[in-house]
Symmetry: C2
Subunit: 304 residues, 2 copies
């Protein structure tokens, strides 16, 4: 096996019994990898993206597909869809790329900001929602430092606190949040960002998180880093134009991207997570015996 | 405060008392931010990079500075320095960029690999080392899912297990590891990678980690993602040439980069971590009350 194939084995994972911290000595048995789990999955293990809760952000470099999470941010999701339908974003730009942090888009012209039509400029924050509003929650058995409970809610990494009865989305790689000023209720969705680095979980419950990038992350994560403060582009010509943001439901069948996401309330998803938590051999020598929320895979795939 | 300044406040952090999970209601008092802690630091809170354990990887796009960690991987660090001194890397390339994973460099020509001179092609793995070999360890009080204890060892995020008496470097953003085949002892440092995404901590103790990128991460993290399997570039012209890799000590004073890193065994570093663990207002509404190892800042700065 050459070096390329070798580091590959680090991606492909295994189903294993929990390992102890002193497991270095014995070779690990080979196990089904994450790829194997996906291969063995049934059609019912997957769900299509709901066109009414999916955004296509078409950049000059390609399409970013965002799944909205109305369970967690109903008002912001609705407002952002309205903005898209009122062509608010069309011609705006990705204006910021800060290393190991976020790529952010919105209006590059702070002096002459584009006016809103009927969409709201600001909304009451949706940092958390009552747990009962969230339709599915599959808890990870693994403990988390940032929240009493973590797991997946219909495809979104999320957390909750039974004491307060609140649930919220977790700031993992690819999650999309609403920029705001100091006041909690000062955002509305006109300025959005996607996480492009190590999960800044300390932002959880401080920002309205509205969804997740399901496809197209490299179009945001590999942008040149901005040289201005906090990674904002210091020259207008560096801004990456947004051709349009559309609700998938409004896009003709021919122009739609067909994606499906692995359901997160199934035995198959549990197996996918376990394949990452406890990898089998031959490449892996020590199985972690643990998975941190943002390392749990949420497989998505294009349907041809 | 505009949107740009607002998300800025998410970066600048505060010193606060631990928050409970139900702290949403009360506004947080303003506290010194990470920037404030750095500003108030004394010269003795910093240490210069040791030129004998620092690599300059000069790409056509700029310089990546890597601090080696001989406490954790003495044989690999020595071997990689020998490779650098024997010009092994000069003219090789960054050949892989996989989203939310790694950028990897080495010999693009698998069929006619560049021969080694006196450096070793492979070495015995250094996945872990005896705890007593590590000169400093400042433990984080925060619990970790992947290891019994985590903290910082002279500027490197690391973990240890008192039961086995072993210590190891943690796969955080920017850490540099040694590619290998299935066999534990099949790497030697000719193929290296830097973590460019969410920390893949499940690789800990499975790979010899040799150091950390102290400067120049954007040169690696913002590379176009490879379209080949696992992010390898599928066309040779996409490989990014390495002009040279040099040990800083071998570079003339005029061509040296002067960097210093915040010491991690000081009260100032403790304050820097706390500023991230419990941010103050006005932007932050809920302090996390916790910090995950790979979210702890390890400030570095250029000395003019």
């Amino acid at each position: 096996m050459n070096k390329k194939a070798a580091l590959a084995a680090a991606v492909a994972a295994g189903l294993a019994l929990p390992a102890t911290h002193a497991a270095e000595s014995k070779p690990l048995a080979a196990k089904p990898t994450l790829g194997d789990v996906i291969k063995a999955s049934k059609p019912s293990d997957w769900r299509p993206l709901d066109p009414d809760n999916t955004l296509y952000m078409d950049l000059t470099s390609g399409r970013v597909i965002i799944e909205l999470a109305p369970d967690f941010a109903p008002n912001h999701a609705a407002n952002i869809k309205l903005m898209a339908r009122e062509q608010y974003f069309d011609g705006l730009a990705v204006i910021r790329s800060q290393d190991n942090w976020v790529a952010q888009w919105g209006d590059p012209d702070e002096k002459n900001p584009r006016p809103m039509k009927t969409a709201k400029q600001t909304l009451k924050a949706e940092f958390t929602v009552p747990m009962k509003n969230v339709r599915h929650f599959t808890r990870l058995p693994d403990r988390d430092g940032y929240a009493p409970q973590v797991g997946h809610s219909n495809g979104f990494p999320s957390a909750r606190d039974p004491k307060t009865g609140q649930a919220w989305l977790a700031h993992c790689y690819g999650m999309v949040g609403v920029g705001r000023d100091n006041e909690a209720d000062s955002g509305g969705g006109s300025s959005l960002y996607a996480v492009t680095g190590h999960a800044p979980r300390h932002l959880d419950r401080n920002i309205t998180v509205v969804g997740r990038v399901v496809s197209g992350m490299p179009l945001l994560s590999s942008l040149p880093r901005g040289e201005g403060a906090m990674g904002f582009y210091d020259k207008p010509e560096l801004n990456l134009p947004i051709k349009s943001v559309r609700v998938a439901a409004d896009v003709s069948e021919a122009e739609r991207s067909k994606f499906e996401v692995m359901r997160t309330d199934t035995a198959t998803f549990k197996a996918a997570v376990e394949a990452q938590r406890n990898r089998g051999g031959p490449w892996t020598k020590v199985a972690a015996g643990y998975i941190e929320l943002c390392n749990a895979p949420i497989p998505a795939r294009e349907v041809k």
